[in-house]
Amino acid sequence: MTGTDSDTSASMYTGTGEAHAHAPLSYRFLTAVWVGLMVLTAVTVGVARVDLGYFNVLVALGVASCKALLVIFFFMHLKYENLLIKGMVLTAFVILAIAIGLTFVDIGYRY
């Protein structure tokens, strides 16, 4: 069972709750994701010590977003969810991005 998107209708009501698609992620794989998160944490602390001016914020947010993607896709299993949930998550983050983006259009020309 490796299908991720196509199995929803077939396994909706199995009665046991066992309607998942993907096999459990291996301990080794999850630990590798954790190593990646630790490396990115070290990177973000290290880069903060170098003065890049305005780019410090961009790098910090970029690294944080990479970490967020690792957590969302692998720890939260989003990569293995069906398209509906993927679309919902994308919508939520797009709405947040619009709110933040439009606010900055305003703030950017205010001060």
Binding site: M12, T16, G17, E18, A19, P24, Y27, F75, N82
Partner: protein, 211 residues
């Protein structure tokens, strides 16, 4: 893994109408409200930071990068152990699953102890939310510390709630109500815990690393 409870044809048997996908979707919908809750606070942070860049710099410099970094490591590691516990449960390794969850809850405790030390140091310097001293600071600084206490405080509340939920799920696993075949409760509790981690992933650089 896929036992799919093959019931003999003709028998109806007890059917628990549990819908794995709906349960997960419901959890995600709830998490969106959490994302927007913290998103609003991040928006406030970003707006005031644009207005008071120097005060935010000075404020960030006064926070302990070591404690903040340590808490980052603690939370990310606890996220790993929750993810591992789901794999353990699905493989039928109940004892390992419970130990991983116990470790996660211990991490939550460690996180809160660090937080208490950090807040304690701020209180010691007279930075107490709502105090005369904090209100009397220059506007930018009082806003920085106000947001610091509000955002890390709200996040701390989420840590306590998440750890409590995980303790409850541990109990359900011990009672055999959450099993390797029916584990969506653990998965949803895990999703909540990962959101707590996710919020901290942004809080840490924005507050501790901006000096």
């Amino acid at each position: 893994m896929a036992e799919h409870t093959a019931m003999p044809p003709g028998t109806t048997g007890p059917v628990h109408h549990k819908d794995y996908h709906a349960a997960k979707m419901g959890m995600w919908l709830f998490l969106f409200t959490e994302i927007l809750l913290f998103g609003g606070l991040f928006l406030l942070y970003a707006s005031y930071r644009a207005k008071f860049p120097m005060a935010f710099h000075a404020g960030g410099a006064s926070l302990d990068v070591f404690l903040g970094g340590l808490n980052t490591v603690v939370l990310i590691t606890s996220s790993l152990t929750v993810a591992l516990s789901i794999t353990a449960l699905r493989r039928g390794e109940i004892t390992r699953c419970l130990w991983l969850l116990a470790f996660t809850v211990a991490c939550a405790g460690g996180f809160m102890v660090n937080k208490a030390i950090e807040w304690g140091a701020k209180f010691h310097h007279g930075l107490v939310p709502g105090s005369e001293h904090m209100a009397g600071l220059p506007q930018g600084q009082s806003i920085f510390y106000g947001l610091y206490f509000a955002m890390t405080g709200l996040h701390g509340v989420h840590v306590v709630i998440g750890a409590s939920v995980l303790l409850w799920v541990m109990l359900l696993i011990r009672q055999g109500k959450v099993t390797g075949a029916d584990y969506v409760v653990l998965e949803n509790a895990g999703l909540y815990w990962h959101i707590v981690d996710l919020v901290w992933i942004y809080l840490f650089p924005l507050f501790y690393l901006i000096s």
